[in-house]
């Protein structure tokens, strides 16, 4: 579904070149849940933006669904760390924003807004937000806002969902809840997900494979397969030993890296 071949990214900083990513080869299968993990400044977000077509790679090539990525695609959705809701729009019209901006996905018929409206209601129900359709974002809690953002990224039934630390700004409990919901949704809707996080727990609970990046320049350190049966959760878990083992392994991979230079994470 996603193919990265020798991808590198160099930013022109004020203090000279910053090599954000170097020689990244990665294939993500259809319906696979891949987590990218690494210290801050290792180019995780950059990697996601390359796949999203928000940023052209300095070297190498990015393919989604067999086509070279040259810009944002309508079958790829992006979810941000912050909910990024338009404050003047109600919940439902925030969810409908992608359809309004650039139409639906090819399979569903371009202009059938009513159909998408039904779909939006379904999605909001799926994340437990029925009855909140007419509310404005500021009337919702952080967790609810991020759920709206999740619905927005699902509205066009994307083949690929790119998620940039979507739960990192939430409290621990909401985060656990949303991770569980995301797993359920992925199993139900069969989407390919690339998920960036700095939380080892999140990576272990959510992913089929975990990609560990080294910082500056971001290189592939190791790809760890996780074949613990789903659904997984941190709270009640039938496979605590496996979770603990893999978490330990990831932890040692991340901590054996030398401490990164104290620079803000380069994004563009």
């Amino acid at each position: 579904m996603i193919r990265l071949d020798g991808v590198g990214q160099v930013f022109e900083g004020r203090a000279g070149e910053v090599r954000a990513l170097e020689g990244i080869d990665l294939h993500v299968q259809e319906n696979e849940f891949v987590t990218v993990i690494g210290r801050s400044g290792c180019g995780k977000s950059t990697l996601l933006r390359l796949i999203a077509g928000l940023l052209p790679p300095t070297s190498g090539g990015v393919e989604v669904a067999g086509e070279a990525v040259s810009g944002p695609r309508r079958d790829v959705s992006f979810m941000f760390q912050r909910p990024a809701l338009l404050p003047w729009r109600s919940v439902i019209s925030n969810v409908m924003l992608p359809v309004e901006i650039s139409g639906g996905d090819a399979g569903r018929g371009q202009t059938d807004k009513a159909q998408y409206r039904d779909r939006a209601h379904e999605l909001l129900e799926l994340v437990g937000l029925q009855g909140f359709e007419r509310r404005l974002p500021h009337e919702l809690s952080g967790g609810m806002q991020q759920r709206v953002s999740l619905c927005r990224s699902l509205i066009r039934s994307p083949k690929v969902m790119l998620m940039d630390e979507p739960f990192s700004a939430l409290d621990a409990l909401t985060r656990t809840e949303l991770s569980a919901e995301l797993q359920r949704i992925q199993m139900e809707l069969a989407t390919t997900i690339v998920f960036v996080t700095h939380s080892i727990e999140e990576a272990v609970v959510l992913s089929d494979r975990v990609v560990v990046l080294t910082p500056r320049p971001g290189r592939l350190r190791e790809i760890v397969e996780i074949d613990i049966p789903r659904p997984r959760s941190l709270g009640q878990n039938a496979h605590l030993t496996e979770v603990a083992q893999i978490s330990g392994h990831l932890h040692s991979l991340l901590s054996e890296q030398e401490r990164p230079v104290d620079l803000p994470e380069a994004r563009r």
Binding site: L86, L136, H138
Partner: protein
Amino acid sequence: MTKRSWLTHSRTAAVLLPVLGLILALALWWLATIVFSIDAYLLPNPGEVVGSFLDQPGYLLEHTGVSLVETVEGFLLSIALLIVRSVIVERLLYPLLLAVNAIPKIAIAPLLVVWFGFGQWPKVLMVLLVCFFPIVISTATGMKSTPVELVELLRSLNASRTQEFFKLRLRYAMPQIFTGLKVAISLAVIGSVIAEFVGATSGLGYVISQSGASADTALAFAAMTLLSIVAIVLFYALVLLEHLLLPWARETR
């Protein structure tokens, strides 16, 4: 609860305190005219001011109407100018705009009379001159205030530049644009009076300068009071409009 918290937090107090302040000020004013037995041509008491209005309400309201129309026209014209402006013209004219804004408007007023005569035009132009700058500045600031993640969201949805402008940047700038409009509307009233001072045959500014010449201070006060009322009404009209148009802005900013 202590008395102090009632005065600062209660809604009744929020309405009563300003009214009380106004009454106190009027009472002090009245008292001062009696205690120091000040002549009416120096400082009329509030009763004389009201009396002066009641003597010729039609005349005063007519001139209020003239000032109001000039103010609103100039204000709307400056908004219209803002809408039709282009980036190139803006860059071209920005230094000129700064320069014009630095000149005291009272100095330009006689020139406007020389160029455009005694009619309504020089007044409307004066209002435009004082209004335009705060509106331009607040709009420009507002346009730059869009959060990065929202811009990135629209990019990730393949939004066109036009969509980005109308669906995001302009909407996001609205609260700041309104701040500029509120500053501008207060200045607009001043602008119309300045223009009327210099060369006019109607308007509240004209009434004030005429009453000064004939030492009819009570009439001047009546005209000034009407002017304040016009300014307050226009200001709160904008506040109301903002309230209706931007219900989201009250909570998020």
